[in-house]
């Protein structure tokens, strides 16, 4: 039973730090966390759904590419601190090519003259094992409807990472692994949690879920002036958790960093992207967050207790990337009296000119209808607005036309249009399906250099 006030967390704890919440996250915050956080493990989550499909495309062009594009920056800055502070690093920055990532890390270590042992976890790439007749989880239609497919990655769990941790590697680099599993794996390894110890795995999953978006636990993506004020956001600290052997935990951050960790920031993050709080499914466990309590035990300290678990799912989720064409966009601004009317007229002109060529076209007025359509439109009249026209095309050449037509409004559209911009981006679509665990074989490869390697 868990109540708001109860016995303190046991003294023996493991400290896990959340050092990245997405591929583009800040590089300075994890350095400070590793330097001053007294961490046992630093964990970097760098893979959004589309990131790995884009990485797969890079790998196609170059067999030694396909890992996190900022890996070199991350490792060069972190490695000296990790060695000095004896912090192990775990992350999915291997993206579509964990082996090449391991080689790249060893090369950096040699250059910095620092010893390193890297374990690369592979087996998530199931493109060759994919059943194209399998239904997608989104629509139930077969995968083959989403061609051409460029990547298929199963979400590995903590179990696949255990041999890598058991190898004694300083750095464990993975491809697609469920985000909370990156945190559950070190807990299973250090505490010897069994794969059917569902309550402990659920508690570890809750901790992982709280930390996986890094700054979002510390007031990032939370702040609102006058309502939810967060101090020092330009120096937002990243979080860590002290996790006890039974899975109870306290989340906190390094003193002197910006941001706040409160019950409110923790509740927002606990529920973030959770489609069923009674059954949050990962490869490790089905976690029930309905009984989780979050209790402030000090400044920037919140105790996390009460998650329960049920059996893990029989099948693994697979994220499948496919080429979905090209997104063409054009924007142009209008200001002053009648700005919205002129922007709307401009939109009508472009729509009329493009309607024959583009089946799907979206015409919005930024400042009025671009985020929520007409649902809340008409309450305010902004001083300035921007027209935005977006459409999908099969080719880059065709997508360019959308921006060109918006730009042509300069001399052919309503009065006073300015600041036209045009963009074309390749779109990678993502759909999901399920795969039998038996068809997914995790593997670990060691790459090392330095003192340990020579002794071995």
């Amino acid at each position: 039973m868990h109540t708001a006030t109860e016995a303190p967390i046991a003294r023996e704890t493991l400290r896990l730090g959340g050092g990245a919440g997405f591929a583009g996250d800040r590089l300075d915050a994890p350095l400070d966390l590793a330097e001053r956080g007294a961490l046992d493990y630093l964990i970097l989550e760098c893979l959004a759904e589309r990131t790995i499909a884009l990485a797969q495309l890079r790998r196609r062009g170059n067999p030694t590419a396909g890992y996190d594009a900022r890996l070199a920056e991350r490792i060069e800055s972190l490695l000296p601190i990790l060695v000095r502070r004896k912090v192990r690093l775990v992350g999915n920055f291997g993206a579509a090519n964990p082996l090449a990532a391991a080689d790249a890390i060893v090369a950096i270590a040699k250059r910095l003259e620092l010893p390193v042992k890297v374990a690369a976890v592979t087996g998530d790439d199931v493109l060759d094992a994919l059943d194209l007749d399998a239904p997608t989880m989104e629509s139930g239609l077969p995968l083959s409807r989403h061609a051409p497919i460029v990547s298929a990655n199963a979400y590995l769990g903590a179990e696949a990472m255990l041999p890598a941790l058991a190898s004694g590697a300083d750095i464990v680099v993975t491809g697609r692994v469920a985000d909370p599993s990156l945190f559950v794996a070190p807990l299973m390894h250090e505490y010897g949690w069994a794969i059917d110890d569902v309550d402990r795995l659920a508690r570890g999953t809750a901790v992982g879920h709280l930390l996986e978006c890094a700054g979002q636990l510390c007031g990032g993506y939370f702040a609102e002036p006058g309502r939810k004020d967060i101090p020092g956001m330009a120096n937002l600290g990243f979080p860590y958790a002290d996790v006890a052997r039974n899975g109870d935990a306290v989340v906190s951050k390094v003193p002197g960093t910006g941001g706040r960790i409160t019950r409110a920031t923790a509740i927002e993050q606990l529920l973030y992207e959770v489609t069923d709080p009674n059954g949050y499914v990962t490869p490790d466990v089905t976690a029930d967050f309905s009984g989780v309590t979050l209790t402030e035990t000090g400044v920037d300290r919140v105790a996390v207790r009460g998650a329960r678990g049920r059996a893990r799912p029989e099948k693994l989720k697979v994220s499948v990337g496919y080429l979905a064409g090209y997104l063409g966009e054009g924007e142009i601004g209008y200001a002053g009296t009648g700005a919205v009317a002129r922007a709307r007229l401009a939109g009508e002109i472009v729509r009329e000119r493009l309607a024959q060529r583009f089946a799907e076209l979206r015409v919005d007025v930024i400042g009025s209808t671009s985020l929520h359509g007409r649902a809340f439109d008409g309450e305010e009249r902004p001083y300035e607005v921007r027209l935005r026209v977006a459409g999908r095309a099969r080719s880059r050449e065709e997508a360019v036309i959308i921006g060109d037509e918006v730009e042509a409004l300069y001399t052919n559209g309503p009065a006073g249009g300015g600041g036209a911009r045009k963009y074309v981006n390749e779109q990678i679509g993502i759909v999901s399906t399920l795969i039998d665990r038996a068809r997914v074989k995790g593997a670990v490869t060691i790459r090392e250099w330095g003192a340990n390697a020579e002794a071995a």
Binding site: E49, R50, M137, E138, Y221, F222, E224, R227, K228, A264, I267, E268, Q269, L270, L271, Y272, E273, V274, T275, D276, P277, N278, F289, S290, G291, V292, T293, L294, A324, L327, E360, L361, R362, D364, I366, S370, L371, H372, G373, R374, A375, F376, R388, A390, G391, R392, Q427, I428, G429, I430, V431, S432
Partner: protein
């Protein structure tokens, strides 16, 4: 009539074409009012034209929170949407515009 914005905070999340929206009471004593007024039907009415699918509500009284899971809410899905905010990140602000009868 007060807006939900005065009583609660919200974070939007995305999974494919599904949007998750938390509604978290600032004060524990307001949770029963939120549970009474912020129903799936009320959210469906408020977000009409945005959420096209089913809306499910989960209650987390010990956190003073409700969780709404809204299907077919992201213009076909994050990765292929033509929308400017493909993730529906700003839907949290839209939901907090809801007027709450005391």
């Amino acid at each position: 009539m007060p807006k939900l914005h005065e009583l609660a905070h919200c974070r939007a999340g995305d999974k494919g074409n599904t949007s998750t929206l938390s509604v978290i009471a600032y004060r524990a004593e307001d949770y029963p009012l939120l549970a009474r007024r912020v129903t799936p039907a009320a959210v469906a009415k408020h977000l009409a034209g945005i959420v096209r699918g089913e809306i499910r509500r989960y209650e987390l009284p010990q956190l003073g929170a409700l969780q709404f899971v809204c299907d077919d809410a992201l213009g076909g899905g994050v990765t292929t949407s033509l929308a400017l905010d493909a993730h529906g990140k700003t839907l949290s602000s839209a939901l907090l515009e809801m007027e709450i009868e005391p």
